[in-house]
């Protein structure tokens, strides 16, 4: 980014948006910076540091958990506001991002918008059915499924920022689980699974399962969710879900992990993730 001529430090979202829309100076937002420092962009003249614009907040609003886009991964990982219910999935996913110094830099919004194949938070957002709030001069909210249908950066309009994520209040008896499979603890994921299950009298009332790191874009496993819905919550069901996912999903392979290996991982690891989500769902009810 040798083209950068200025830094700006807006104190509000509105001010940040106006700077980004300013036609006289080509601007790009920056927060944690771990993505921006690698940008090859040769035309950005101004970096707009959005970390002072009041977006580093976490609050509960009418039952929804609302997380500001510049909340750092380390703070998400340590937050007690995310509780022990399904939202704990966010803290779990955040605690697995890179290493401690990386978690002190990476922000929620950066991890979602600068989506990399191995980003950890997107699968959690899909499993929690989060709403992604985008703001330029207008404000719009997209479902996580819409947000990740293409690369989020291609979806943002001129001047638009992801300002917050709104996680709907999970109903009683809901639990979540998150699994990231890495060759070593600090390495990039070769398969990430996030699941949220709502249990009702021993059956699945609602299930959302998402994978990432083995697909170009993070995605929900709708077939598996349909198989789970209404099913008796037992190991047989979880095993069938694993078999179905391992058969059906088109996963990517590379030098770190072949397609076959990732399919094997998904088939083997999904049942355990579903079991853990179910145990937590039962815990959340009692």
């Amino acid at each position: 980014m040798s083209s950068v001529r200025q830094f700006a430090y807006p104190r509000t979202i509105e001010e940040a948006v106006e700077l980004l829309l300013d036609p006289s100076c080509r601007s790009a937002p920056i927060a944690g910076g771990t993505g921006a420092v690698f940008s090859k962009s040769a035309d950005v003249e101004r970096l707009v540091d959005i970390t002072r614009a009041g977006l580093d907040t976490l609050r509960v609003d009418g039952g929804e958990v609302v997380i500001g886009a510049t909340m750092r991964a380390a703070d998400l990982a340590a937050s007690s506001l995310l509780g022990n219910g399904a939202c704990a999935l966010v803290a779990e996913a955040a605690s697995r991002i890179g290493t401690p110094p990386i978690r002190n830099a990476v922000t929620l919004g950066g991890n979602l918008v600068h989506l990399l194949m191995w980003s950890d938070l997107p699968a959690a957002m899909l499993a929690l059915d989060a709403g992604m709030v985008l703001q330029a001069r207008e404000r719009r909210t997209l479902h996580a499924t819409e947000f990740f249908a293409i690369h989020p950066r291609r979806l943002l309009r001129e001047g638009e920022l992801l300002t917050e994520v709104r996680i709907p209040a999970p109903s009683a008896g809901t639990g979540g689980a998150f699994l990231k499979h890495t060759p070593s603890s600090g390495d990039y994921s070769v398969l990430t699974i996030a699941a949220v299950i709502t249990e009702d009298a021993g059956t699945v009332r609602d299930a959302r399962v998402a994978v990432s790191a083995a697909t170009n874009l993070p995605k929900r496993l709708h077939d598996v969710e349909e198989l789970l819905a209404g099913g008796e919550l037992d190991d047989g069901l979880f095993e069938r879900a694993g078999e179905m996912a391992g058969r059906a999903e088109k996963l990517l392979g590379n030098f770190k992990a072949s397609q076959e290996y990732r399919r094997h991982l998904l088939r083997s690891l999904l049942p355990g993730v579903l079991r853990q989500a179910t145990e937590r769902a039962r815990g959340a009810r009692s």
Binding site: R5, F7, V37, D49, N104
Partner: protein, 156 residues
């Protein structure tokens, strides 16, 4: 552009290129303990404390630290006396080539500032972003344990 920050507890103002990364600015200010190795955020040798928390300075534009507090290894020794963590690294021979040491010690400092009796697991987790290619990690972990002990005794 002019950058103002608190560097090792002193207010500092410096002229920087807006697109400049933080390590080159800190080294220009004499903080040669900020080592640049991979430049990719993998190795941890450029670790600094930003508002008390360890971060990789190579992943920051200098402009991002405006108005914030940066601590480098140079802040630790006082009046010629080494910091207890530095002493412990010497005593435990946790230093061989020394390139990773400033980052290791700052990561350890951030841990011990908040927790003066960490478990081995907590120490290993806190240092997991810092790579050493000489001594191995056993002596480094021992040094942090020993430093924790020193700090506990100091505060008594």
């Amino acid at each position: 552009m002019r950058l103002e920050l608190t560097l090792n507890e002193e207010a500092v103002a410096v002229e920087i290129e807006p697109g400049e990364k933080l390590p080159s600015v800190l080294r220009r200010l004499g903080m040669k303990g900020v080592r640049t190795a991979c430049g990719q955020g993998h190795c941890g040798s450029c670790t600094i404390l930003l508002d008390g928390r360890p971060v990789r300075s190579c992943l920051l534009f200098a402009g991002q630290v405006a108005g914030r507090s940066v601590t480098t290894i140079e802040a630790l020794a006082r009046g010629g006396a080494l910091h207890p963590i530095q002493e412990a690294f010497l005593e435990e021979s946790a230093v061989q080539c020394g390139f990773c040491t400033p980052g290791m010690i700052l990561a350890a400092k951030a841990l011990l500032d908040g927790n003066n009796s960490p478990s081995e697991e907590e120490i290993r987790e806190s240092l997991s972003g810092n790579i050493c290619r000489c001594t191995g990690y056993g002596s480094i972990v021992r040094a942090v344990k020993s430093a924790a002990q020193k700090l506990r005794e100091e505060r008594r």
